[in-house]
Amino acid sequence: MATTAVSVEKKNYINAEYGIRSWLFTTDHKRIALLYIISITAMFFIGGFFALLIRLELLTPAGDLLTADMYNKAFSMHGQIMVFFFLVPSIPATLGNFLIPMMVGAKDLAFPRINLLSWYIYIAAAALYLWCLASGGVDTGWTFYTPFSSQFSNTHVVEAALAIFIAGFSSILTGLNFVVTVHRMRAPGMTWSRLPLFVWSHYATSIIMLLGTPVIAITLVLVALERTLNLGIFDPTRGGDPVLFQHLFWFYSHPAVYIMILPSMAVISEIVPCFSRKRVFGYNFVAMSSIAIAAIGFLVWAHHMFVAGISVYAALVFSFLTFLVAVPSAIKVFNWTATMYKGSVSFSTPMLYAMGFIGLFTIGGLTGVFLGTLGVDVHVHDTYFVIAHFHYVMVGGAVLGFLGGMHFWWPKISGRMYPESWGRLAAIIVFIGFNLTFFPQFILGYVGMPRRYWDYSHMPEWQALNVLSTAGASILAVGYLLPMVYLLWSLRYGKPAPDNPWQATGLEWRTASPPPTFNFDEIPEVTWEAYEYEKMPLPEEVTLER
């Protein structure tokens, strides 16, 4: 292992035991988090490969690189892998798994064996999905809309649906573990109002996982049953209603957007106060806005269906509720900005990601309000405007949060510091690459380029923006690969990390880096509020810079 560089070392969770069995049968939440990091990163690169195919195809107006069918499969599998096998588990299963027990002052999650089980379920699901991919893939789009998925598509819909069904259990079990841990495993003195906002946000995420995931599970099972056993539930030729499928699908899949973004907000809520050296502005509002997002997020799903033939009155209500869900998101953005205001802001790598997040999420969120407006939605529905909007939320939001969090807690996870200047460089490359990829897509969508088209030779004037987008995607790819390289490099060559390199508050920083198997040598007794930065010294690096 990489930790052999320092010869006499305290036992920690990494060197507590050796051998492959000690990893595959571990019930330590920190080791399981590492297993998840490796697996979701692998899935991320597979999903990224399909993104690469999409961008290369769109480089020229003619459909020349891929066949139409291959293109359909490429965007379907890009979406399904990224959503169900990367974004949904991303932060919760890795950073959440690693940090939540430490943040509440527990030795482990409430159900360590169920935690391990959730990883095995994830692996089983991923294996089934990769098998589906290898045997020819699926072309339904990530949304599995019926009747195409249940009647017409002759690709491997059932396998893909079952893989996602199985992956759902892994996320249900993760959510279950978090909720019970937050309720029952808090250290003495760790009251609800002293919980870090990271925990609040994950609590809200877990509620969505628990109440949303089973609905998509049963929906995909019904699609699979329709294909295999001729049941008639969504198929109009058998008396079923395809719009019902859309309702059930979005009942999960809209809240799922909050499963992806809330954990990123969790990360940002930790990074911003730390690198502003200030208490978070309006703790209660940030905490409660997470819960509000989870609650209202369940009531907006039909804004994906404004042109699917739902009633005008229903559409009006869903449009209004969509505006409403923007309020708690806006509260968060205002509070993070207010936290930075007059703070001692330093631009370390995690902070660069956090600031990138705030800007990009604001754009993603506001364009979401455009899309929730009935008239605008009809105009830009199913265009690249939608694609750009949700990539601003999912990549500009969720992925930037993930990268920022990985850097922020890397010293804790690995016991090593990453190279700061490389980190900053990568953060800037990601930011530039991201905007170059997706901003042109807003314009493309606004001028009418539909999503899921593989050939736009009737509109050659769209090419310039598409070339920009593809160029941006290649820059973005560099931005993703760089952290991979230097984080792995730092495992061996990085400076050993002190216990609290950022002088951050939070219980996870009051134990060793990397932490011992049971997290704390002694269960802490909490007598302070979260984010008491006025009592913390400045971190060493920041002091040197000044």
Binding site: V179, L210, L222, L231, G232, L244, P516, F518
Partner: protein, 261 residues
Amino acid sequence: MSDSHTIGEAPLAVEHADRPELRHHFADVEQQRNAATLGMWWFLGTEIMFFGGMFCAYLIYRRWYFPEFAAASRSLSLPIGTFNTTVLICSSLTVAMSVRAAQLGNRKMQVRMLLLTLVFGLAFLGIKTKEWSDKYREHHIPTFDYNVVGGEGDLIQENKHLLGIDKVENDPVKLRAREAEIQQHTKVFYSLYFALTGMHAIHMLIGVGLFGVVTWMAHKGRFTPEYHTPLEIAGLYWHFVDIVWIYLFPLLYLIDRKPIS
């Protein structure tokens, strides 16, 4: 709550040597029990949402296709369904009694009640299988050669008024169109019937497996009046699966059982 635990050095197994059932990361049995119970309640919440998707579909289609749903519902056997409901309610009673026996520390009674639960559970599944095979014979399973117009599983003759057949009987074109509609819409009912009862049966199977383990644990004397959490939370699951059936029975069997005029 935990106060003076030293951890980190203490090996996993030795820490709570006096209480083998207490897992290392809990401070005391109380905390462990609370966690397990809360976990099961939340899990049952997810189960409600899981069945909720199908109940939602049921609600919509029942409103759209009420006559067809009522006619198809009449084809289910009321005596068998009622009997099976009774069997299931009895199984919940024996579960409750086994928990009571555990609280009183009566091991023999505990095991006996758990075995009875297993018998009731398996009996329910057996009777359900019989009902399904009847449906197969009547061509009411959407998967195999589905037909409700004429033949063994005919629904038209007995429900002419309900299905509005009497109004179109004299017009062969309209009659055929209506029959095709009935064929389609009853198929939705049976699709939901098999999806719902099938999912319920899968849950029953899991429950029987779970109670197999719990019975074995009870037989080994693992449960004491102070500690019988596995029995309790398995019981919660069993009761939940029962309650699902309590909803399924009226929704599927009792849509419209007025005497046929």
